[in-house]
Amino acid sequence: MNKTLNTSPDNTPPSGLKKFWSDFSESTTAVVALIIFFTILFIALFAPWVSPSDPYDLTSVDIMNSRLPPGSEDFAGNIYLLGTDGAGRDMLSAIIYGLRVSLGVGALSGFVALILGAAVGLSAAYFGGRFETISMRIVDIQLSFPSILMALIILAAFGKGVEKTVIALILVQWAYYARAARASALVEKNKEYVEAAHCLALGHRRIILSHIMPNCMAPLIVVGTLQTAHAISLEATLSFLGLGLPITEPSLGLLIGNGFDYMYSGDFWISIFPGVALLITIVSINLVGDQLRDMFNPRLQK
């Protein structure tokens, strides 16, 4: 952090976004990870235009092309860079569409869990009392169980499906956000600007939403990135086990699970490549999250 302060020629601290970027780009690894992540995001968002074919368009999929090894060509002259799966679908296209599902489920569940967790955490810190005791006790109990177990319990009770998987991921994650939000809100709550807001007789809602919350965002963003990576991995695991998403929403986990059946006959590409895509996604998000955590960690600030 010393370096950034020295490099600014005048003594005025750099503006928010600039300072953020100069702190962030201190780690080359993190910048590369961010670029990779944005590339993945772009591919996932524009899947229909980026992917070589639509793997779920039944007219273009031919069972005759099933289990072709990577780089092979079919009679029509289409080249399958990453091979085909048991139904003759192009693996590259299937992975691109799978990324879409995996990222979508991860982002949606992470976003809802963030809002839910932040609401509980902030109000627990702000109002205190019995609400705080009870809600934080629930958070403690929930966090003492591993996330995979919580998700299994929820899915065993409700059954599989897109919305059920999303609900399970939200219920698994909200506690992390609640704990992080409460921890930083407890610090902010006693600062002078909150006192000033109280003196102005502002309403509770306004103090929480427009005064305390903006100052608690940094740790929540860190928890958010790392949790989203975790959610994507968890969804893949559940879908692989056949308990998460239905086959109509083929996420990366389901693709890997499909390939598992063919693996003993040596058709490695069907489950390896979706796994590599999943791994790159998770690692890039984790590396960005690690850098953000270091940036916001006051103990590492010099």
């Binding site: 177990l149 086990l241 590396l287």
Partner: protein, 324 residues
């Protein structure tokens, strides 16, 4: 101390009670308990008999009471598939899961501590950087996918190690386990390594952070000044001091190894209780699901209680905070 243990035990009982309520509600209120608990292939007479036997014709509060009383008597229903008491089936498979979890824990510690200490002693060296990069990868790689890669590489391509089942078991001192036979060990190695990988990464990180902190302490400087050999400094002075956080984390995380063994057991067809629960969820064998959930809750609550009590023994500050 006694009051701390008592409050904590009381809290654990409340957690157990709440979890039993949730599991009960999940089975009896979300779905139709007649569908959930009675074999779908049963005829009307059988259905009526089981409804009376399970007390499903009574009010909900009374049903919950029956559920709890039966659970205390070790009766959590009969499996639809196997036709045997659910609890018995799970307990039969428990040793395989415990063996897998303990062996992975052993692997994580045996490999993790030396690697972590090395990375802590020479943080700038290439080997250390490789170790740390590996630990980030170990953190990020989904367990099930690593399992697939291991099978593909060591079983399908190289043909070195078997990929399914538990292998031959032998019994010594009343313990039946596959670690006593060579065949069993070869079956155990891949799944245990798969399950250990995640824990291995966290042990490496902990050992490294601990070493970097300890190495700066005065007693290390003193030991070196005294002329103690570097090996002895590491073996005695460093290792002893980093063991405290490592051991506590290991205790805390043993439960998560059991939970994650559901994934590893499914990939490697390991006949433990994790595979049983996944199979039962597929087959809608609900008595087993309920029984598994109750057992795992009991295991977790007990583990947490033990860790809490150990904490308070090691660190009196926890005790004081816990009571107030």
């Amino acid at each position: 101390m006694t009051s701390f243990i008592l409050t904590r035990s009381f809290q654990s009982i409340i957690v157990l009670f709440v979890m039993s309520l949730i599991v009960f509600a999940g089975v009896n209120l979300v779905g139709d308990p007649v569908d959930m608990l009675i074999n779908p292939e049963a005829d009307q007479m059988e259905i009526d008999r089981v409804i009376r036997e399970l007390g499903l014709d009574r009010p909900v509060s009374e049903q919950y009471w029956y559920f709890v009383v039966n659970a205390f008597q070790g009766d959590l229903g009969r499996s639809f598939i196997f036709g045997e008491p659910a609890l018995k089936l799970i307990i039969q498979r428990m040793p395989a899961t415990m063996e897998l979890a303990l062996f992975s824990l052993f692997m994580a510690v045996v490999f993790g501590i030396p690697l972590g200490v090395y990375a802590g002693l020479k943080p700038e060296s290439k080997v250390s950087r490789t170790i740390m990069a590996g630990s980030i990868l170990g953190f990020s790689m989904p367990t099930f996918w690593v399992g697939i890669i291991l099978i593909m590489f060591f079983s399908v391509s190289l043909g070195w190690l078997p990929s399914t089942g538990r292998g031959e078991v032998a019994t010594y001192f009343g313990v039946t386990s596959s670690i006593f036979t060579l065949d069993g060990l070869s079956h155990l190695f891949l799944p245990a390594f798969n399950l250990a990988l995640f824990k291995l990464s966290s042990v490496i990180r902990l050992a490294r952070a601990g070493t970097r902190e300890v190495i700066l302490q005065d007693y290390i400087k003193f030991a070196r000044a005294k002329g103690v050999s570097e090996t002895r400094v590491v073996r005695v002075h460093v290792l002893k001091n980093i063991m405290i956080p490592v051991v506590t984390i290991i205790g805390l995380e043993f439960g998560s190894l059991i939970a994650f063994s559901t994934v590893t057991e499914t990939v490697f067809a390991w006949p433990g209780m994790g595979k049983l629960i996944i199979d039962s969820i597929y087959n809608l064998d609900r008595p087993i699901i309920v029984a598994y959930l109750m057992i795992i809750v009991v295991i977790f609550v007990t583990l947490n209680l033990i860790v809490d009590i150990l904490y308070s023994v090691l660190d009196p500050r926890v005790r004081i905070k816990g009571v107030s």
